[in-house]
Symmetry: D3
Subunit: 277 residues, 6 copies
């Protein structure tokens, strides 16, 4: 019986909660996780790329800004179906990696004896008191082109603000996005491009509703539009913080600032973990 043909894109926003962990996370990602992943999903993933997070801009903490990288996949099938459950190898995922990413407390507990996690458990981590692991599946192309169609690479490098939102009240949230937020950003001169898609909540049970991306010339333009300008926005009834984005940072809004290019397009560029001499 044929599989459902469902090409999708997914995004993971990886945090790094302490600088003590950044180079360790980098090592785990490139020395262990990339080869484990290619070994596993090479036959049904078309693109597997890492994009380095740009530094958090002033007041960026309020926006659930994560600090390591965005991990992107383009899938030829849904890896979460029962047919895809059995794998010869399990990915190497020491629990410590979750601590580095902020999914479990950075409380000094010794994790060196903890068992390896499997990847699906890892990607379902966080939540409750701790911020959620964000693994959001979206359509292969953007759904909504809200501003700036026609922009080319020659129009200049972009400072891309990408985030997912989980509305406390989904219907009200969506209405506010469409009636208030989208028009606001469409009208801001600093916004060069504005795109959005709904998140497929049925794939991995992702609780976020919407992925949004806004492009600016740089963090100063972002600040003008997203921090300064939004002071005029009325606080919605469902607000979780006083000011825009009105959502609980790192729980109901999670995002990242990214450049246009991938740090590593793993399927075409990975050549093993090679070190400086």
């Amino acid at each position: 019986m044929p599989f459902a043909y469902r090409p999708m894109r997914s995004l993971i926003f990886v945090d790094c909660v302490r600088e003590e962990y950044r180079h360790r996370l980098l090592h785990w990602l490139y020395a262990m996780h990339v080869p484990d992943s290619i070994s596993k999903f090479g036959p049904y993933v078309q693109k597997y790329a890492f994009y380095n997070a740009l530094p958090v801009p002033p007041e960026g903490e309020r926006f659930g800004t994560r600090r390591m990288q965005m991990t992107e996949h383009y899938w030829l099938l849904n890896e979460m179906t029962p047919e895809m459950h059995v794998n010869a190898f399990t990915e190497r995922m020491p629990v410590e990696v979750l601590r580095w990413q902020g999914m479990i407390p950075d409380d000094g507990t010794d994790l060196s004896k903890a068992a390896n996690m499997d990847g699906d458990t890892h990607r379902a981590s966080g939540g409750g008191e701790m911020p959620p692991f964000v693994f959001a599946h979206v359509p292969i192309n953007w759904e909504e082109d809200l501003k700036g169609a026609g922009r080319t690479l020659d129009d200049g490098p972009n400072y891309r603000w990408q985030f997912v939102v989980q509305w406390p009240e989904p219907e009200a949230g969506e209405r506010w996005f469409r009636e208030t937020l989208a028009p606001y950003f469409q009208a801001r001169p600093e916004v060069n491009r504005f795109l959005s898609s709904k998140i497929y909540q049925d794939v991995v049970g992702c609780k976020f509703h919407r992925l949004v991306e806004l492009w600016f010339d740089g963090p100063e333009e972002w600040y003008a539009a997203a921090v300064e300008g939004t002071k005029t926005l009325d606080k919605p009834a469902w607000a979780q913080q006083e000011r825009f984005p009105f959502l609980k940072s790192n729980f109901n809004i999670v995002g990242m600032f990214l450049p246009d290019m991938a740090a590593s397009d793993n399927l075409t560029q990975y050549r093993g973990y090679i070190t400086m001499r």
Copy 2:
């Protein structure tokens, strides 16, 4: 809802109407268009290759022979569906590129201020007074094996004549192809291989009906079979020129002479635009 799974191949026959433009077109193709394209369709294109046109043989002009390259894609989905409409970046396509390809008049009009075109507009250009842009989608494998099955690479390098036809009268044209032309070429000793497929007219609205490919040892054998030998063919009722191919050159028949190998298999071989020192 799952996408339709429709793997397809497509062919674009790119002309170069003046030698003054060849190296410019080459630069645009490799320095700008290849990276723009890989960025855009990398996640759903399985092969993206350029094949260099061999020089036009004697009398080849009558056959709608184009002079730059054949651009080939193998698609995992139909890029023309609404779900695929929104793209973060638009490809860089200066209008001038269409002039180089003969889709708009080479009349000296200053195009340097013209806006960038988007790719779909570009690929729908030509027509009317000007020759059409040819973007033909066909089944992933050839449909009809008319002569020479079993040929291997060890049987020698091939001079491949590839063309698309738009019959002035589709039914009569198809009948003539099947009853007159195919038997003619099957009987010619110079023809080593003969393949054909119908064109999917529903994908991008391509008006051509059929793709044909004939392999010869070289242009001299092609001339014997396609120019000399065809003098015996009766002119069909729908003929647009006196002699074979009986179709209006570069409008109802468009084609190219090609070798077996790709000039660049872009997804596996492209490594940036690197120049001679």
Copy 3:
């Protein structure tokens, strides 16, 4: 009309019946067959890898152990459908290659004048008096996880025993596998991992029923579990030989001993046939 979307994996167990042929087979595989294959199926194969057979362990001959390589493909569509029948080029497959692989007698008959075979004929060779060519299509992921889930690459390199079985009595065979053999290997301490899938018999008419893979630390552990330990197993009614595996070697059981890594992941690693100086 859309194609059926049926991503699959396939395995071919290639034998080398005489050392006089090993380097010739190697040359044919890498100098001719890999480029022929990539040219042909590049647009719809996601992974195409060769895994070198480890030497046959003591008593391994009884288990239908082949001695050259396992050839693995991951397909995006079923190449055996009528839509995929016509190919521009036929793969170069001298009949001699079948002799090297043991599909036709190694009887000194001069094959140098024999015509090239097409690939499908080649892959349907063997059978009758001669061992069958094994071309088994299976689900893209393993179906049954019988032991050792959670194993990672850090648990050590694996000695993988992979085999296909064709039960003389399919129902009885499957029952014996489930009630006798699987519990036996699950209980053996030498078995680190145990996986199995049913073979898709509808793709190329493969007559084998099941693919099984068992991982050991090395051939000594394999010997303990598969030769020594199985002496306690009762001979089933359908047995074709006295001892385990109870199946006719190289006819009803065909397999190989393999390491974890591919000798060549052709789509990403092949760079032409380059020789030692």
Copy 4:
């Protein structure tokens, strides 16, 4: 007449003086500078890699810490000799790039009309009031192994502090390095590895004397050893600031914090400037 055979390594410490510029610098580096560079020196450079700067640790500003990347080359010949002077193409180096790197004032002057610089002028920029462009050539292997020989990749990911020093008084500086600083760091438990080489001052006229590299488990260990612990060090006669490193930050000491792996090993990994969709 044969060339002098002088394989060398060189390091460039690239700063980013304002976050408004980081993604622009990234774009210039990968979209323009890498292909320009490979085109130019591909035939005589063996390795050309970028290593991303880790964020500046607390008090790191005092140490001349730069914030973008370390650019590393391994040369097969000295590009500064007269025989290497003429180049077909000049690298694209808008003056603005120097502003982003802090080599000219970030004072708002419009540089958009400024002529392209050639690469050698670019790499000789800075100095005087502005910090110097650091382009340091060193022996292909490290000269001095001061601590931690035998460390392997399995000993854990490293937080590498790399810096060059220009002593105000070269003889006294070298003596202080050897008699005071080296023993200090050798004795610190946080230091896992300690390496140093003299800089070749004859290649490009680099004024720095010495390259030093110290490896720690992370920035907290660096802080303990380099900030806290050094409070006990006596201020040398030639000191330019009160505390260690006693050198004028970003002028007499310039450095960076780096992980083990390259962000991009350009000669093997670059595949054009491909963007996020």
Copy 5:
């Protein structure tokens, strides 16, 4: 004893004397010669690239213009020394290949039984009645920068005219180049870039004296400067034809029109001989 360290660049101007041969030459070059060459000189060649000849412009025949490709190597040592004489494999060079390139008469003699040539014999072919095989070694960088220093890739794609000259009277020829020809082209507005180097005559016994390269916007500008404008040049005493270039075409002047980019940078881009389907 150490080798002489003599990094060099070499150029081969490959002709195609009849269109019947172009796709055969292409097949031999890419299916056989590239892998043979990489196997042989991979360990001491840093760059090995093919650049496709642009079509011969009007009157280009008078200038010794060849029609296939320029083959470029960058060598780390002189392959012609006795130490480099013995090779495990000899390159596959059917004599017929020389006919396709115009080094031996295209007279219909059956060459199919002729022995394979070795590469050095091949590369010393031609001469006497037939045009010489041109294999010119030059310094790794250009020696003389005669016009247009500072040109970057952003100044536009280039139509590069590259040729070697063998002066009938070397001293007079060089004087004429310096006093008459160089000033002429320096003064022509169509010339964007002008470079030249002396040829190393000691490497393979190349009889040509000088390599020259001139860049234009296109063939029309070349025609204005090299054909129209040169009518004013006085015929030198040693002239071999009435008009500029005053040298015997294809014997004393041999050249090619080339774009900036390589058709194939073989060491980094070659991935085997893969065909169109």
Copy 6:
């Protein structure tokens, strides 16, 4: 001061003394040693390839035949000079790896606590009671072409017998090679190609004198020439065994049977350690 320019080739003959170790050695080589090595010598090694040993033919044990692989490097400089001594990282070389290769006794001693060895110590292992580690440096091209010059890849795949000899009496050994052995093999019809070079004994202190390579159609032809035919050879005065090769197996003669192609050309083909699913 410039380095000595001394391009060299080196060969290492790696044994595998027990099948229990083959897949472990394979894992160490590809998962750890290749990336360690590329990290270390990438900037001065031009080729780094592994060639898989073909199975030992009948009586091959007497000839010091090793069973894993030949590791080949082409060096741009002598890594053994003092300038090359200090390395940032040491290669991961568990002592156990030497046991797998037969350089230390396979006696069951627990080596799991033994310290990592550095690479130079590893490559100087063996000797005394145990067979020596063979690391032989030779000229970049073969020195002596004793038979079969002109052979091309089209003459058929080769069964290459490669071995190094350490003469018990160097002068007598060389004389015997030249006067007896070389003429013998030159006269044997089974020998298709015959090459030899002296070993550079000054690089790593290699005690072997000469590298020899003989090509046959296969092991049966080797047996006829090297085992059967050599019965007629008189035993030399210095003989260490009764029959040819008259040298102490695995001590004074060490060799391997190899195909033409590399199993992995690591610098161009390595893409990380990717496993079967």
